[in-house]
Symmetry: C2
Subunit: 431 residues, 2 copies
């Protein structure tokens, strides 16, 4: 891999997400050689992926080159690599571009979509965990509208304009809201020759309230916002299968749709060599102690979505969000410094800064530690916080401009099919 030997201990960080970047920033200022590996050369600001899918933002403005984030640190190395396995005996990371020894290893691989073993859903549904996936969804949505124009079969047209989003967490809620706004503000203008009223947006939640990780008032208000926007919210409904045309559920309810988005589960991304059953908690997360050490390994750590720290009040680990990951990255960074100075490490203390979700213009819900509020103010706070945590000054300006423009013009201009998505649904075009 052409990483030079150094007198500093080498920390390999696998993954350039929120946790990995926060940690690298911390370590690069200290006496460590930091090697970051990621399969992408950019950091993805995942909370805004749904805006890419719905044409509100360009993909490039929520991505940021990892090399640029950590530019100027002489002991930082980035490698575009796919990690194949880890050998904790030999302290080696094996990748598609070779192997590398570590002194400390940090797994910050994040999470991926969890289909819970359901093959039909995995094969036929859309996910939204990466920029390419979000672009595929953007293409598919637009392609479906174009196709809907071509068929005289009302059944087919309805299926093409029917959107089923499974999972009532923030991703599902935000996507449903954005699609509802597209239906209202853009479709009638873009497709005057199509009766766009038949477009339907369905949000399906298996439990009895959406946004289950938030407060009851947030759930209730978000649901009311969605209904105001015309989203059909289905609760206590479980999706069983999706064959590319029909969604079946645990009740008699079925949906005929060309687009099902699966946002109903995530699981940690594990690495061979660190995926023994005894190491893993629910959702494949690596069990770590209060210093982020992986069980049974002194110099192997995990942070972010992939880490499961048992802590009072968090029986399922910390929420798989940016905030815990960033805090863990900082904490681990400080601990590695302590460790190298032969000082005792400090246990991680999670500071819950609350959570937020946006439904549409002027409509968001926020559960902050001291206050819970909903509506316009929450929406402005949501935008401010997301701009604040977005990496890169240029990205912030471009996102801000887009938001102002979209707000004033009720528009989302990035509705471009740049890379067509292989259509799964076919219509018999009327000749």
């Amino acid at each position: 891999m052409n990483i030079p030997q150094s007198s500093f201990p080498r920390v390999i960080i696998i993954g350039g997400g929120f946790g990995g970047i926060a940690l690298a920033k911390r370590l690069c200022k200290k006496e460590f050689q930091v090697v970051m590996m990621d399969k992408h050369n950019y950091h993805t600001f995942q909370p805004l992926l749904y805006q890419v899918s719905t044409g509100g933002l360009e993909p490039d403005s929520i991505a940021y080159p990892i090399r640029k984030v950590l530019q100027g640190y002489p002991h930082f190395y980035f490698r575009l690599a796919q990690v194949k396995s880890v050998d904790t005996e030999q302290e080696l990371v094996h990748t598609n571009i070779g192997e590398l020894k570590y002194d400390y290893l940090v797994v910050a691989t994040g999470s991926t979509t969890n289909y819970f073993g359901n093959k039909s859903i995995k094969k036929n549904s859309m996910a939204m965990k990466s920029i390419p996936q979000s672009l595929n969804l953007r293409s598919l949505i637009l392609e479906n509208f174009e196709l809907a124009l071509l068929t005289d079969d009302l059944h087919e047209r309805e299926a093409l304009m029917n959107f089923v989003i499974v999972g009532g967490g923030p991703t599902g809620v935000e996507l449903a809201g954005a699609l509802a706004e597209i239906k209202k503000g853009i479709l009638p203008k873009d497709y005057p020759d199509l009766d766009t009223r038949i477009a339907q947006i369905n949000l399906i939640q298996s439990s009895e309230r959406i946004l289950p990780a938030m407060s009851e008032i947030a759930s209730k208000k978000a649901e009311r916002f969605l209904e105001k926007l015309g989203v059909n919210v289905w609760k206590n409904l479980r999706v069983l299968e999706y064959d590319g045309k029909v969604v079946t559920t645990n009740t008699d309810t079925v949906f005929e749709t060309a687009t099902m988005v699966w946002a109903a589960g995530v699981k940690a991304v594990t690495i061979k060599g660190l995926n023994g059953k005894d190491l893993l908690a629910k959702g494949n997360r690596l069990k770590v102690n209060h210093f982020h050490q992986v069980e049974g390994h002194e110099n192997v750590f995990a942070i972010g979505d992939v880490a499961h720290m048992a802590m009072e009040g968090y029986p399922n680990g910390f929420p798989m969000m940016a905030q815990p990951a960033m805090q863990q990255g900082i904490s681990l960074g400080d601990n590695l410094v302590r460790l190298s100075e032969k000082l005792p490490m400090a246990p991680f203390i999670y500071k819950d800064k609350g959570s937020m979700a946006t439904v549409g213009r002027n409509k968001a819900v926020a559960d902050l530690p001291r206050f819970k509020f909903q509506g316009v103010f929450a929406w402005f706070i949501w935008m401010f916080v997301h701009l604040y945590f977005l990496i890169g000054f240029r990205n912030r300006v471009v996102v801000f401009i887009n938001w102002v423009y979209n707000y004033i013009k009720f528009d989302r201009e990035a509705r471009l099919i740049i890379r067509p998505f292989k259509k799964k649904y076919t219509v018999k075009p009327k000749i």
Copy 2:
């Protein structure tokens, strides 16, 4: 295709480029049913594609949804379609989504890369005529730098960091300049562990001066600008073959490179049924009379790159650029109105507004009808003109912000490998 019958005559416009859009805008205000077909759902601002390839601009900000451009006109229809053939007897256009009768047909299909039958070049080189192609080039350039890090073979590393651009027209010149600026401003910071001085940018022109369509002073100045930036300008050199590793020429000069960009020729995009040898001029362009009528067809027209109008001073037709296309679209629009009112058509008069090319920051050349100038002023004019002709207010703002940012920070932040390009060059990574 579900286009309703109308009492207005139907004009089918094939292609949503500069010519097609200008024409549609003109006709939509009059008594015509306008049907535009394009294989993309967006208009591409081709003059800025090189900035997408080099990470200076997001692809989405130089594309604009065609439906949005012509929103609000009740007799405008857009169809995402690939035209298969035209039947001028039956007055029918055949496409992948069905067929449609026309009263007037306008071919505005533009141009594509011309490899002049050279298979090795077609197979192994990169083109830059569309957004997906530009993104592929962006990915390849970045992937090559990542690969260059991994090899210890100096030969391989040089090939990975050697860029060969064939064609000294505006595209080649602009791309070479942008790459030279990346070499100088970004590579050393992004790749501190790589000796980026070995990166080479070669611009190859087969004739004795670059920018042959511009004035001699512009050519000379552009060449001096390029040399200042460290670009190797090769004149009177013809590329013969490129096997993916080695570029051979008509002299002893060879280039070992992982990236050859072919910007040395374009040809018109013809359509079956309108591609008889008697109809075509040099470069497959459709011969048209002074009213843009295709020879032998009263109601079939061609505008833009695909049209070849014999005119004094333009023995090879008008330059294949945005300006003639837009002027032709407007002229044809007015003529179709006259035709429908049984008035005689007016012959097209081309108003040469000059041409420009930019080499780098503060470095551009401009040949305007009254003045020729080079340097900072030309560069500002170039930016102003490109912003002016860019479609969409949001796009203009975003491009402007990006340019200001890039100018102040000497940076280009969109260096993202979002869709990896299948690598053609392999290295033996050092383990």
